[in-house]
Every structure is written in C-alpha cells, then in structure tokens.
C-alpha cells in the first residue's frame, strides 16, 4: 500500500511540484496516520502549493479556508440562509400552511449554507482541506478547529450531529505571526519548508516556466540565492523567482551576462519595497551577477 519515496516524489513532480527530500515522507505519513500536516516557513516558500499538489496527486478536490482575524464559525463552518428562510415563511403564510410543518421545513438541508469546513467533512472522496494561515485566526477559532480535527464531526443544533463521510486530508499553514497552541501542534505532523536550494529552484523554474533553457534557469536560481542573502526587508519567494524567470523569457534574454541593464531593470520582480529597491544599487547587482557563472 505504501509507495516508495522516489515514486511519490515523481508523482509530485508530475503535477509540477518539486519537493524537497523530506516532504514526500511527511505526506505519506499523513496518509497513513490520518493526521493533519502543519507547514511552517517564510512567506513565499510554497506552503500553499503543497496542498494544491497533494490534491492533484490524489485527484481529490481542494477545499480552502483562508483564515483571518475575526473568522468565526458562520464563515468557516455553516450558516442558515436567512433570506431564503424568510421567503419560505412568507410564501407559506400566504398559502395558509400549518405552522408546525413550516417550522420543521425551515431548517431543512436546502436552507443550509455550507462553508469550507462542513463541505470538507461531508464529501465522501477524501478532499484536501487547506487551512491557510491558521495563525491569523483567533485563539477561540483555533480551539474549535482542534475539536473538529480530532472528532471530524460537527453538531448543528437544528439538524443534529453530522459525522464525516471520509476523513479529509488536512494541511495547515502558518507564517508564525502568532504562536499556535501546543495542543494544535501536537495533533499535527510538522514540516518546516525552507527556501529551495539552487538545484531545486532550478528544477522548479524548469517545471513552471515554459520554454526556458536549463542554463538560464540555473543562472536565475543562483542569482536569486545571492539576492536572498542580501539584507532585505522582503526576501523574494519562489513565486517572485518564477515571475522574474517568466519576465526574462518574455524579454528574450538567453544569458544573464548579455544585458546587465535589462537584468537590473527587471529585478523589480524580486524586490517589492522601495527600501529594498534603493538599497539594491547597480553595484550590488553587478557584484551578484559576477558570482553567477
């Protein structure tokens, strides 16, 4: 039943996700133990992409819950469709229906608005549930999430308890803007995503940017690695690298050394604040370019 790490890595690569050595194992474990996976790492290392790739590998649906401050159950779990309920009440009043029947009817399934969490546990095909940036949600919500992730059942007062049809594959991501509770951490498998090394980044560029030459991809990866080591306010992530690579391909650059001026101008794909931009003078760019073979 278990597939080897290499096979799993190939499957991930087939959906254009280039994983590090350890991630496939964490994903396999997640499958076997039925535990959620908590991903941490700097912004832009591709945490969200992991969930997308996982969904693609298993051919499962991806259900995404984006967390934010003030997220509550009615936006995350379920809510009654009040407007429709009211309309139904009015319509039946006019028709002179029996109040008891109306009352029973009004809390039926079709008046229920499904939100991501409920949708995830009601599907039978084991979807991938991505709970993105869970550190942004309030602590109360985290506690609620913990309960849901251990029981996989929800009780709706008017409908009764809804049990999960299948246990979804849960991926949580965190940017550590707030410390998560130990209980939640304990429940999850943990994986720390780092910025990819040059070799992996090259493969990512090759996989994601169509029509790019291997030599250029490697140069770009080296250059980005150099940029990341500078003192920057906003360190460029993988998405920025891909933007830059696409820009260079679009401008028909074959070699980074051909046209330093264009390279310097397109660096705005990587540097996203004015401060970084001004600090990154031509000299710095030239120095970094010099290191790229």
């Amino acid at each position: 039943m278990t597939v080897s790490r290499e096979l799993f890595m190939q499957r991930l690569a087939a959906v254009d996700y280039v994983a590090d050595r350890e991630l496939p194992i964490a994903l396999q474990l997640m499958e076997m133990l039925g535990r959620p996976l908590l991903l941490e790492g700097e912004a832009g290392v591709g945490k969200t992409e992991v969930a997308k790739a996982l969904a693609a590998v298993h051919g499962a649906a991806l259900i995404r819950l984006q967390c934010y401050e003030g997220l509550d159950q009615s936006t995350a779990l379920y809510e009654w469709n009040y407007q429709r309920q009211l309309l139904a009440i009015r319509a039946r009043e006019v028709a002179g229906a029996d109040p008891d029947v109306v009352e029973r009817d009004i809390f039926a399934e079709r008046f229920l608005l499904e939100r991501p969490l409920l949708a995830a546990i009601r599907r039978s095909d084991r979807p991938v549930l991505l709970i993105d940036e869970v550190d942004r949600a309030d602590e109360e919500f985290e506690a609620f999430l913990l309960e849901l992730l251990s029981d996989f059942q929800v009780s709706i007062p008017e409908l009764g308890t809804i049990k999960a049809q299948s246990i979804p594959r849960v991926v949580l991501t965190s940017n550590s803007t707030r410390d998560l509770s130990d209980a939640l951490r304990r429940r999850c498998l943990y994986h720390y995503l780092d910025y990819p090394d040059v070799e992996r980044e090259t493969r990512i560029i090759l996989a994601r940017v169509p029509g790019i030459a291997t030599a250029l991809a490697m140069q770009i990866a080296r250059m980005v690695e150099g940029v990341r080591q500078e003192e920057l306010r906003k360190v460029p992530g993988v998405a920025e690298t891909l933007d830059w690579a696409a820009a260079l391909v679009g401008l028909d650059v074959k070699n980074l050394h051909d046209d330093p001026e264009t390279i310097y101008d397109t660096l705005r794909c990587l540097l996203k604040t004015q401060e970084d931009r001004s600090r990154f003078s031509r000299e710095v760019a030239t120095r970094l370019l010099g290191k790229v073979a």
Partner: protein, 402 residues
C-alpha cells in the same frame, strides 16, 4: 508514563520488540531535549516502525521528524538528537537544553540563601562597577563592559536578589495593575468614539427577527470588538543598569500578571524571551527560571544587535498594530550606532508606539549623548526617566495616553 508506553509496545503489531524498546528510549531522549511528545505520538511512531519506511535510516529519520517535531526549534534540533541516538547507538549524549537541570538551580538557590554562601568566583571583576549603592560613573562603566559578559556572572547574581522581597513585589504589582486598568479603559473609550456612525448588522437583525416573522423589530448593530493593548517590554539588563534591573523585573512580573496581553524580553549582549519564565506565579520560582535564562546578565550591552534579533525573530509573533513597546535602557550601547537607528526605525514601523524609559535620565549631568541614543530618539513617542516605582507611577498619565 513508562508503564503506559510499555503497554503500547505490547499492542503494537508485528514489529520487533527490541526495536520498540529502542524507540521508547528515543522518545525519552527527545523529551529530555525539550520535545513535547505525548502517548499518541509514541503510538503512531510504533505504527511507523512497522512500515517500509523504517527499513532505512534515510526514510525513518524524516518520518519521525515530521511526527515528533512541533515547531521550528524542534525541527532544527531533531537531526542532531536522532544521529546521536541511532547512529552512535545512544552513547553520545546530546546536551540538555532549556530544562532546569541540577547545576542550574544552584545559582538561584545561592542567591536566595544570601551572599555569605556565594563561593568566591571571578576575582577579576574589579573593573566592573560597584554592585550596590554608590553613584555610577557611566563612562568608566561602559569601558569596563566592553570586555563582554563572561566575567560578569557574579554581578548577575546580585541583580535579582531583592526580587523575592514580598513587599516590593506587591508594590510593583499594584502599579502594574493600575497601569493595566488605565491603559485598557483609555483604549475602550477610543473604540466607542469610532462607533458614532453605527452600522446595522443586517444578517444578525434578520436572524434575530425570524421569530417576528421577519419584521425587523429588534435592531442588531455592529460593534467593533474591543481589543486590549499589548505591552511588550524590552529590558536592558547590562551592568550599567544593574541598580534598576530588579525593580523592572518586579514591574514586568506585575505587568505579565495584569495585562491581558504582554510579553517581556531581557537583553544584554543577546536577547532572551522571558515571558514564560516570568508568568510563574511564585516569584521565587520565576526567579529561578529567570536566572537560567539570564546567563550573562550584567555584562555589556548590544542594544542594536539585540533589537535586530528581536525584529528578525520575535517581532512578527509578538507585535501587532495595537502593541506598545517599552524599552528600558540607559542607552549605552557597544554596537554600531547606525544599527540602533536602523533597527529602531524598523521597530517603529511595526508597532503603535515606542516608549523609552531611561533610569539614568534622573542623574545630574546625564544627557543622552550616546550616538546610538541620538539615532534612536526620533522614533520614540515618549522618552522619560524612571528609576524607581514613584517615578514610574508618575508616568502613568503619559503612558495611558499612548
């Protein structure tokens, strides 16, 4: 705990008993190294052992790593522990980190027992400043401190001695409680003012009025959630501050107790997060844990570098838009002044206000001439003297306005 684990081991399917015993020992080693591993994890680890993954260390290691780690520090530490345990057959012992081991408590006990029990150590501390009382000569003190923190251990031991004095602790708590109350009410009033243009929450209004058949009789209006102010205290615990450290430590203890959201850090040549240790109700135990963390307290100051560490690793999780940062320091800095300015700028961009309390400002002839201080001042909302509880209390009206 061990018995329960053994029970799991018996239940685990078809993996060799010996391997499982080793695994149990491994989880113990991890726990000793500060990993939080429960029974559920041990059980799952036993299941992992039965899988193909366990055949090779190259796959077993990442599997156990994903299972046993819960945060980045664990993640970074794991490989070392794993290699020491499995590769060296458990002979190589990994350093115990973070937990109060035997030699560590002794320092604290010595402090509490009083000075006469202190062993003579660090006879070369003559160039440090006088330990108790007496005017401080800042210039010479800074020069002495340039030599680093290592020799100042004895100094550190005097620093917190008065911490456990019940009366002083109570006083500090009273002030902190008052401050916490004042800063909270101030904040809520500000919220109410914003409520002038009251918005009606349509969805909730409809929901509430379903019992009236949908006729909106009771209006539900939307209110902004009240949010407490968060206070983050960065305390300079270097030698030149030694007279005031205990006072502010008590104050911090009170603040952590009374503010709904507060964090505290101690810095000298490096930065230490002390909130967890200081949340200990019992002051004596808090002191014990603090002494562990505060190794090297009383040495030189590197405000700039400590702030850089703070900005890089802690700011994201402790600071939000309703955070007031209180920096307590005399501003004598041995790191580059440009650094301090730059880091203050960064910090100012992140938080709501910065307060700089300077105990030395009360001294005659003191002026913040240090270049670092000059670079930092433009980013400070309130720069005030505070060298004892009275002066701290006098600041209350200013602090509440932040």
């Amino acid at each position: 705990m061990m018995a329960a684990q053994a029970h799991i081991l018996c239940d685990a399917p078809d993996a060799s008993r010996q391997m499982l015993t080793r695994l149990a020992a491994f989880t113990c080693t991890l726990r000793d190294n500060g990993f939080a591993i429960g029974l559920k994890e041990s059980e799952d680890a036993a299941r992992v052992l039965a899988l193909d993954l366990a055949r090779r260390p190259s796959t077993l290691r990442p599997a156990l790593r994903a299972l046993f780690c819960a945060q980045r520090s664990d993640w970074l530490k794991f490989d070392e522990v794993f290699n020491a345990f499995w590769r060296a057959r458990g002979r190589a012992r990994v350093v115990h980190i973070g937990l109060p081991a035997k030699p560590a408590t002794s320092a604290a006990q010595r402090q509490l027992a009083g000075p006469e029990l202190e062993p003579e150590q660090g006879s070369g501390v003559a160039d440090q400043m006088p330990r108790e009382g007496g005017a401080v000569a800042p210039e010479s003190a800074t020069r002495g401190r340039m030599q680093g923190a290592s020799r100042a251990k004895r100094l550190a031991e005097t620093d917190f001695r008065k911490l456990a004095d019940a009366e002083a602790v109570a006083e500090a708590h009273v002030l902190a409680a008052r401050l916490a109350r004042a800063m909270r009410t101030r904040l809520s009033r500000r919220d109410r003012a914003r409520l002038k243009g009251r918005r009606v929450d349509l969805r909730r209004t409809i929901r509430r009025n379903i019992c009236h058949g949908g006729v909106p009789i009771e209006l539900v209006s939307r209110k902004r959630k009240r949010r407490p102010l968060r206070l983050v205290i960065l305390l300079d615990a270097s030698g030149s501050m030694s007279l005031y450290t205990s006072l502010f430590i008590r104050f911090i203890h009170g603040v952590l107790d009374h503010f709904r959201e507060a964090e505290a850090f101690l810095f000298h040549t490096r930065l230490v997060h002390i909130s967890a240790a200081m949340r200990e109700r019992d002051v004596t135990r808090a002191l014990e844990r603090l002494t562990l963390l505060g190794e090297g307290v009383g040495g030189g100051t590197r405000i700039g570098e400590s702030l850089a560490t703070f900005n890089r690793w802690h700011a994201r999780s402790v600071i939000h838009s309703r955070t007031c940062v209180m920096l307590v320091s005399d501003g004598y800095d041995t790191s580059a002044p440009d650094l301090l300015g730059a880091e203050m700028k960064r910090l100012a961009r992140r938080c709501r206000r910065i307060v700089w309390l300077n105990p030395m400002m009360g001294w005659q002839g003191y002026e913040p001439s240090a270049r670092g201080m000059q670079a930092a001042l433009p980013h400070v909302a309130l720069f005030a003297p505070a060298h004892n509880l009275e002066s701290l209390a006098a600041l209350e009206p200013y602090l509440t306005r932040l």
